[in-house]
Chain length 204, copies 2
């Protein structure tokens, strides 16, 4: 489709470069912005530019941060003996959102995937090594995807550091809360039987 | 959800201000931008700011334009006797896309809608009046929504200018190409019977 204006056409092209947004949605968003006070578009544009130019990563855990060391790594009240290994910053947010974890994190930045050409060297295994060898950590918790790549990554880390003075654990796999047994896949159901927990009145 | 960085949080808040984009999608888009070279985010931000600050409207038809008068109004090869009245710039693009119309346009900027508090004074009826009274236009074609508001708008314009030396027409309503009769609504089907056209071999 031809657009009647070059600035409109440029904006549509750029917006449609985002994943999941086609040219038709991009046009809809552009026309929406034109119906709002121009301050909204200016502020949106500035926030996007600020995001890609000003974002910083924590030197300790590689999560996003506004300072050199993030709020989680800087929080003395958190248990420095627990280190939760995740693939992505989104996983940190998801776990923090549960309010159930009070240790620290390490964001690997991906998982080992020969198909996508990602090997251990592209992940922050060196950061993990430094942390394990500092002897403050007692338990490394794998919170990785329950996929071939996630399990390969956990196994690689386990093999590399199993002789170090540290314990390894995996987050529980099983039937999600609210799921019906009838529709659960057999691998999850099998794991939830093997890893059953003692019953208590709180149901936790 | 708390975000680990203020620039991330600001970007998510701004992106989620767009229609149809929730906070979860906004986070996904922000993380996507952070995985790309930062030039992409800078260019996207600049295009959005450019859109809201630099967009111009044609003085004749109120469509978007890079110049004072848009390419359509400036095109001497187009029929200046035909004026297609539409609600929105999107409608101009849609009609231009068919390649079937070679006249000019007038973008009303909405339709009369007492429910949303939009009366004739908020629309560009004054522009239309100037055009009709200039006596170059012979036919005003209504290409408005087939809704109560669209028909009210057409009726208002018709009543106001019916004594002028100009013909009024409406785009054809009927069964869309590719539709099966069985599933068509009765009003469209009824109109397509009343407004039947003589059969020709091209099927047009």
């Amino acid at each position: 489709m031809d657009y009647p204006s070059k600035v409109l056409s440029k904006a549509i092209e750029e917006i449609a470069g985002l994943p999941g947004i086609g040219r038709r949605s991009a046009l809809r968003l552009a026309l929406h912005l034109l119906r709002q006070p121009s301050s909204q578009g200016i502020s949106l544009g500035a926030a996007i530019q600020g995001l890609v130019t000003d974002i910083k990563y924590c030197k300790e855990c590689h999560n996003f941060s506004d300072q050199e060391i993030c709020d989680i790594c800087n929080d003395d009240k958190r248990n420095a003996e627990l280190l939760c290994v995740v693939e992505d910053v989104r996983d940190v947010m998801a776990i923090e959102n549960t309010g159930k974890y009070k240790g620290r994190y390490l964001v690997l930045g991906g998982k080992i995937s020969p198909m996508e050409g990602i090997g251990p060297n592209q992940l922050r295994i060196d950061s993990l090594e430094r942390k394990i060898k500092s002897h403050t950590i007692k338990e490394v918790i794998f919170a990785l995807s329950s996929t071939m790549e996630g399990e390969t990554t956990a196994y690689y880390i386990y093999k590399k550091f199993k002789d170090q003075d540290v314990m390894f654990s995996n987050i529980a796999r099983g039937i999600a809360v609210g799921d019906e047994l009838e529709y659960a896949d057999e691998i999850s159901l099998g794991r939830s039987i093997i890893n059953r927990t003692s019953y208590n009145e709180a149901g936790l």
